[in-house]
Symmetry: C2
Subunit: 235 residues, 2 copies
């Protein structure tokens, strides 16, 4: 199937690609919101790059299911990561939605020294579930065959330990993507809270700037994602 | 005042910079949300680049008002415009908020052949008021001394007549900002509805691509804004 064909038909993730069965909410969305009819072509996929053609069924099981295809390759060879300091519920969800649409591969909600929003265990678990649901919907909507890896809320210190080349977005630094072929070519950008990263957090880490005025955290995360994808795509 | 000083204190727009008087809602926001105290330094500004230092007063009139300063120059010499096909209320507002934070100078909600959302006269007027309020809040929040010019909902045909170099964002085109010093250097980018622009609308117009997957309209508008600002800032 060509990219244009992928674009023109709905994409639905299923738990088991061998025996695909739509979630009830997805079936309802296709029928009631997108106004698809029984027999319309759809793509079912596993969120890890494998997919198959099918036709929308009258119940949750699709008809006319084609062979399983492994998408030959990802759009990019490098995996892109954006982390952002926790912001209140809907703004965190907005960031997850937009980062997924833009094709970011790994999304990390952060706690930092100056992060005001804190989630306790139960709330963190609820919000992780919510983030993953948002990412799933956004990936289907944007026809992304790969679901991003959405981490639970993680301390900055842990993130930089696990992703040693993580670059922090800081005002006043050379802007990411400002020059083609620039030496600054990060694949992981972390965005701080409204109060910024602390000097201790910045010490010894690569830093990068973002264009525009003072940006809210979720706007800075989206901005970083646009520039990461741009620089990755121009290779 | 240095940019760093501007960043560190609240910015409030006032109707009359000669005799500044805060809106009640702004005063309340400073006192209750930002927890400013009477006597704290603030900047009052007219949204057109003129500003003066002041101290927060106990009532709506600020104290210790300094001389009026005309900001010496804009951040950029070129004015940047983003238009986007109307989307439902909160998504249009989100676009206006983010475009303002990013420093876009002119924001145009569009109707196009395939735009599904339509606003009649009364609704259009209400929404324009709402868009301008959102832009005002976002400009204050991001310390932007210039308020963007937010147009009322305008037909695409009118926009391209008034801004003849307007470039349309279309899938499959060379990505905006993909190469430094590229010939594609638009200052106005228009984003279509989910169904795209019609072939008639695209005919004879400059076209440009955006990175990422299939983007929602508001995401595409934010993406275009990031890339416009990036290319304008790198000159």
């Amino acid at each position: 199937m060509t990219p244009a064909e992928h674009r023109s038909r709905p994409l639905v993730f299923v738990a088991d690609l061998e025996r695909p069965r739509l979630d009830e909410a997805d079936h309802h969305h296709l029928r009631r919101v997108l106004r698809c009819r029984v027999g319309d072509p759809i793509t079912v996929a596993d969120g890890a790059g494998r997919w198959r053609s099918a036709a929308l069924g009258s119940d949750l099981e699709p008809d006319a299911v084609g062979p399983i295809v492994q998408a030959s390759e990802r759009r990019r060879t490098t995996s892109l990561t954006v982390g952002f300091a926790l912001v209140k519920g809907d703004r965190s969800e907005l960031a997850v939605q937009k980062l997924t649409e833009l094709g970011i591969d790994r999304i990390i909600p952060l706690t930092t020294e100056r992060t005001v929003v804190r989630w306790d265990g139960a709330k963190a678990a609820r919000n992780r579930e919510r983030h993953r649901r948002v990412a799933r919907q956004a990936a289907m909507q944007s026809r992304n065959l790969w679901l991003p890896d959405v981490w639970p809320v993680t301390a900055l210190s842990t993130v930089v330990e696990r992703l040693p080349d993580a670059t922090l977005a800081e005002p006043g630094q050379t802007v990411l993507g400002a020059a083609a072929g620039a030496e600054i070519h990060p694949t992981t950008v972390l965005v701080g809270p409204e109060g910024g990263f602390s000097p201790q957090e910045c010490a010894g880490r690569p830093l990068v700037g973002l264009p525009g005025n003072i940006l809210r955290t979720e706007t800075a995360a989206i901005c970083a994602a646009v520039l990461l994808v741009l620089t990755a795509e121009r290779g």
